[in-house]
Amino acid sequence: MALVYELVWRMLHVLLHIHRTLVTSLRVLLRNWNGQTWRRAVAALLTPASLAGFPDSQKKLVVEISKRARGRCSRPSGCLVEKLPVHVGLLIVEEQPSYTDIANLVVWCMAVGISYVSVYDNHGVFRKNDTLLLEKIVRQQDRLGLEDSKYNVEFLSNGNTVQQDQIVSGQPVVNVLSPEDGKHSIVEAARRFCRTVEQKEKTSKDIDVPMFDALLRESKNIPDPELVMKFGPVDSTLGFLPWHIRLTEFVSLPSHVDVSYEDFLVALQRYSTCEQRQGK
């Protein structure tokens, strides 16, 4: 009898796998088909004498939207999204990272006005190849014609901190994160506090949530992400900033490879419509 159940179980998971593969292929097919139609429509809207070709029309769209986002947007209807996150985390849970696509995502974030973007994977691959990522980001910015000084990126990797005033001044920050920035940083902060207790500078009763929060931000001042876009089939955060994600909204996308600007906007839209009650 146990064998029968096992057989049925295997069949169930084979069917699920087939279903997932079909859905992925359909999505790619649909986007390619839709993409052509949509791009033509958009190109016609934005530039009457439209040029053919994907990169140009996408470029025009991103520049157009970034202008609207960057400008004083008083009318909600004129804004891209109702509510923009300050910090967006790009959590890649796929085996093969595509630096070009990640660079696209980073540049799109900055174009719509998001001032802090972090990039994470649980192998620390992006941290190891951070110069490659920066190159790709700069290249994508050039391609989209966003050479405006507003888009000079503050690039962080391996713990170089950003002070609060730098975020406020509007210069976008890209931070490359790894599991070290998660539990390991929490443990480091705990160790630092215990050392002050050992040296009789503090007592155990002195620690509370605001104090520990400040302690954590002493070495790496990473703001809490309001939104995490997770790319890939694994339904887990895989060690991404455990302390910081207490109120973070998670939006899952199937893959970052060939991710489209439309997908990105849809994810942002989903964030902007969520309601946080904060316990009340």
Binding site: V187, S236, C274, Q276, G279
Partner: protein, 370 residues
């Protein structure tokens, strides 16, 4: 009448609750509704599905964010208290389904420290509901013993009214020795408070001279959390469609399967649970791989830290840092690690005693009559 109520409560269709709220004439029904243990069996299709699922990997520990009680109440045009009450009934039912799926441990988010920000009326109502539930639990001690249910409450109990603290302590102490299945209720809890509290406990250990600051590690921090007696959850389920963790088990779920379901908690069904378990099974291989990677990294870091600490110790005691050759150094580091582990064990024993005696004293203390 009893048979009818039994049928009502073991059904897995959401419509069950409409019939429950309608049948106010049955006192017996509403009393049964408050029970922590739901007797009952799965029907044939449910049993077959459970057996199929159990052929694959099944989570050993599932955490629930039981969201949607108030929205359910609005939807059914009943008051909030009723929504919370139905939510509790659903918890009892879900526990039974978990046991029938061979999931021995469940953690639930019952009351967040942030929930104290709700209206005085609602908070008082929830405290009263909690008191009734824990009183009921103490009444059902025999049933809990029969099923081997161990109840633990995680959170800062000192934030709660004293009489509720005493009831909780009695319930936890009464079921302490049971070990067939485990229900952890997070009450007056947030994950950040839990982590800060763990750091406080480690600092206390340093103050008492039990451990050194250099002994602080990821493993030690995990042992100082409220959830130290449980393995990390394999699966976290949040109902009502929200896609955030809301300060729940942030440390423990770093490598758990997260499933967000749009069903409202009081309408949760056996099939929703099966859906979540299937998603866990689909993610199982990748998550196991990620966990192993993390554990390897932890081991590597511990070795590195032991090496540094050992060298620092030798420097302090003998004036010279590094033992000359490789094997001697390895030996010194291994010896250091053994001593560190002994210190940590003594500290954790002391911590356990501190927590146990706090609860025992609370359980034995007389309730102050309001």
């Amino acid at each position: 009448m009893t048979r009818r109520s039994a049928k009502t409560f073991t059904g897995s269709r959401p419509r069950t609750y409409a019939s429950v709220t309608a049948s106010h004439e049955e006192e017996d029904v509403s009393v049964k509704a408050m029970s922590w243990i739901r007797e009952g069996e799965l029907n044939l299709i449910e049993r077959l599905s459970a057996n199929v699922l159990k052929a694959g990997p099944v989570p050993k520990h599932v955490a629930f964010i039981m969201d949607g009680n108030r929205r359910f109440a609005r939807k059914k045009h009943v008051d909030r208290q009723e929504g919370h009450s139905q939510g509790f009934n659903k918890l009892a039912e879900t526990l039974r389904w978990c046991l029938q799926l061979d999931i021995p441990e469940v953690t639930v988010y019952a009351f967040s420290i942030e929930n104290f920000n709700r209206s005085r009326e609602e908070v008082d109502g929830l405290m009263e509901l909690a008191k009734l539930k824990f009183l009921r639990l103490l009444d059902e001690r025999d049933k809990l013993e029969k099923h081997g249910v161990c109840i633990r409450v995680l959170g800062d109990l000192t934030l709660l009214p004293l009489d509720l603290q005493q009831l909780i302590a009695k319930a936890v102490v009464a079921t302490r020795e049971h070990n067939r299945c485990f229900l952890n209720v997070c009450f007056a809890y947030t994950s950040r408070h839990e982590m800060a509290n763990a750091v406080r406990e480690m600092a206390w250990g340093v103050e008492q001279g039990l451990i050194k600051a250099s002994d602080v590690s990821e493993a030690l921090l995990s042992e100082c959390l409220y959830s130290s007696n449980s393995p990390n959850p394999d699966l976290l389920i949040r109902t009502s469609g929200e896609v955030r963790l809301s300060d729940f088990l942030l440390w423990q779920t770093s490598h758990s399967c997260l499933v967000f379901q749009s069903v409202l908690w009081p309408e949760y069904s056996f099939w929703n649970l099966c859906d979540a378990v299937i998603q866990y099974q689909c993610n199982h291989a990748s998550i196991m791989k990620a966990r192993e990677l993390h554990q390897d990294e932890q081991r590597r870091q511990q070795l590195e830290e032991d090496d540094h600490a050992c060298v620092a110790e030798l420097l302090r005691h003998h004036g010279n840092g590094k033992p000359a050759d490789g094997p001697r150094r390895q030996e010194a580091v291994a010896e250091y690690a053994v001593r560190r582990e002994a210190r940590v064990k003594d500290f954790l024993d002391a911590l356990r005693n501190k927590r146990d005696s706090f609860l025992t004293q609370l359980a034995d203390s007389q309730a102050t009559v309001a």
